[in-house]
Subunit: 336 residues, 2 copies
DNA sequence: CGAGAGCGTTTGAACGTTAAAATGCCAGTC
DNA sequence: GACTGGCATTTTAACGTTCAAACGCTCTCG
């Protein structure tokens, strides 16, 4: 484990010169720079991050609270999100530090502690809830953070955020279904209380209205839980009540899977008799048959924006960014 | 942001005494301790981790490479694993640092760099591959690490590991199926090359043999990919070839889901006509209908053991631990 | 009653780095 | 030839903590 001192001795310069070679190479005369660089390589020197952080008081670590879902349910795309987040962080020389914390106010001491002890520079928040207490608190404490997900039903949300336009995604699904000949499009949703659900429902509604398709309350079903079973039961009820339904936009891949199952039980062919779309383009979507058309959140872009905002030195650019999802068309909505 | 110095001034003791109050309270006279503690609380002092780490050269961070699955497939239980790992790390005052790295030898520089720059004390490896190069390399470099998963087909594996006894899990599934009246139990597997597959296959085989049930090659099907479709096709082939099959042990929940789908297509009732079991007890298992009997890996215990081994100061206890999974019985194997 | 041990506390130094100020050198200017 | 300005490099001092040694006090015991 070489130190600056040893490299300096080897290159016959002062310690500071070696430091400059790494952090401000333009300050060195080309020949000196080359000599120092050679010594660095020869000794396989790596700067000690702790010493650096102590001096600069920046740890280059970003805290992320690993979500724990109350119902034991997994975030099917968390893998992808974490991977993108890590990659983005790394491309700016930072890393992600994971931690656990209780949801709501009880979790705040954990955030405070991590920041006060200088384990992280800031936080990326996800699983944003209505009236999430974290945003206000962090802003007040002047702890840097950025939120993945808007706090819903608030006119203004404290602090910067990045989110995906779920409404636009659902509207795009509706448009795609209309273009492929569908005329009676149902919507499979979560409980109405959820802000996420409201956003996506609105997209379906507006999409239908703009195309002159029906979008009445009887075409929207609110499932109480996000399970395949619930999706299947909802689909059954919808089809029983209105056999004319020829497409179903589901608010999640899981509910869409339920729809697929119910269709298959009824000897209906998904994608032919009734088209189905999901949301999130989880790994499941491409693994079922027919493969599921789904709305993909641009994970890489989300991650890049999050890190961008969090690590911006000067407050450049907007700090509220709504990204567009992408409709991935597969067999469940367009056979062939 | 209070520092030791300020606390010391406030409590009218030396800096070292405050440090001792935190790290070796037994050295202080009770009244001094109390006075210092009061000052610490009053000033809301938190030790600066960087300074501490610089001095002690221990960062209390554990590196974990966030897996990227080549086929874009998600690890359905990664959530749970990460959550358990974080919780275990935290209960020993540590945290998890995430990073990305290419698989195989090309990833080694990343590990080296993280360790050399003192970003982490050691590593938890997962996604262990046959002849995984990381283990040997890390051992040689004397970088602390522990592996989740054995390196297969090696008589001795460099370094400590924790793993789950997949064979025992599958044997337990077979036993359960036999007890509930099943006599012809098929096995749905991955490609034979996989060590994981071999382990679990062996469990099924031995389980059947011990109970006097058939376990010939014709009852084991090796799917080329881990998809619902592949599982369904395999189930179709198995049932076509041998209509007497009354139970299927699948090596993954995904394949089991395929089996369920094929059964339903054939108007057979899972759990009544043919019993089905999966592996991993992923969130999907409880979300399908009938709910899927599955073999759960003890995530909390795995995480605890991993952290235990990695952070043990003295080499206490065995550093190769094989944990027992648990069979979670649900409707797909025991209706009612 | 003086030497030695034990305890609680302080002092001095170091961990490896970087910011800021100081230094020395050289070329250009009047 | 002294004077200025600019550049490359070095010196000094810190960042906040802990280790190791030293200190001074009290107690024990021969």
């Amino acid at each position: 484990m070489a130190t600056l001192k040893q490299v300096a001795a080897h290159a016959e310069v002062s310690v500071q010169t070696v430091s400059n070679a790494l952090n401000a190479p333009h300050r060195l005369r080309p020949d000196t720079l080359q000599r120092v660089t050679r010594s660095i390589q020869l000794l396989n020197y790596r700067p000690n991050r702790n010493a650096r952080s102590l001096r600069t008081s920046a740890v280059e670590l970003i805290g992320y609270c690993v979500p724990s879902w109350p119902n034991g349910q997994a975030h099917l795309v968390m893998d992808q999100f974490l991977h993108s987040l890590c990659a983005s962080a790394e491309s700016s020389g930072r890393h992600i530090l994971l931690f656990t914390a209780p949801v709501g106010v009880e979790g705040m001491p954990v955030y405070e502690d991590l920041h006060a002890r200088r384990l992280v520079d800031g936080f990326v928040l996800s699983q944003t809830e209505t009236h999430d207490p974290r945003h206000g608190w962090l802003k007040e404490q002047q702890v840097p953070f950025v939120s993945f997900g808007r706090v819903w039903k608030e006119s203004t949300q404290p602090g910067p955020w990045v989110d995906v336009d779920g409404a636009a995604g659902c509207a795009a699904a509706v448009r795609h279904l209309q273009e492929t000949g569908r005329r009676r499009i149902a919507f499979l949703s979560w409980p109405e209380a959820s802000g996420l659900a409201e956003d996506r429902l609105t997209g379906w509604q507006r999409g239908c209205q703009e195309l002159g398709l029906p979008s009445g309350r009887e075409l929207a079903f609110h499932c109480q839980e996000d399970t395949i079973d619930a999706g299947a039961r909802a689909t059954a009820e919808l089809l029983d009540a209105d056999p004319g339904i020829d497409a179903i936009v589901a608010i999640s891949d899981i509910l869409a899977l339920g729809a697929l199952r119910e269709l298959s039980r009824r000897r209906l062919t998904a994608g032919v008799d009734v088209a189905v779309t999901g949301f999130d383009d989880s790994p499941l979507a491409s693994v079922v048959s027919p493969a599921l058309t789904s709305i993909r959140q641009p994970m890489d872009q989300i991650a890049t924006e999050l890190i961008d905002i969090l690590t911006a030195t000067a407050p450049a650019g907007p700090t509220e960014r709504l990204l567009q999802p992408e409709l991935i068309v597969r067999g469940s909505s367009a056979p062939g």
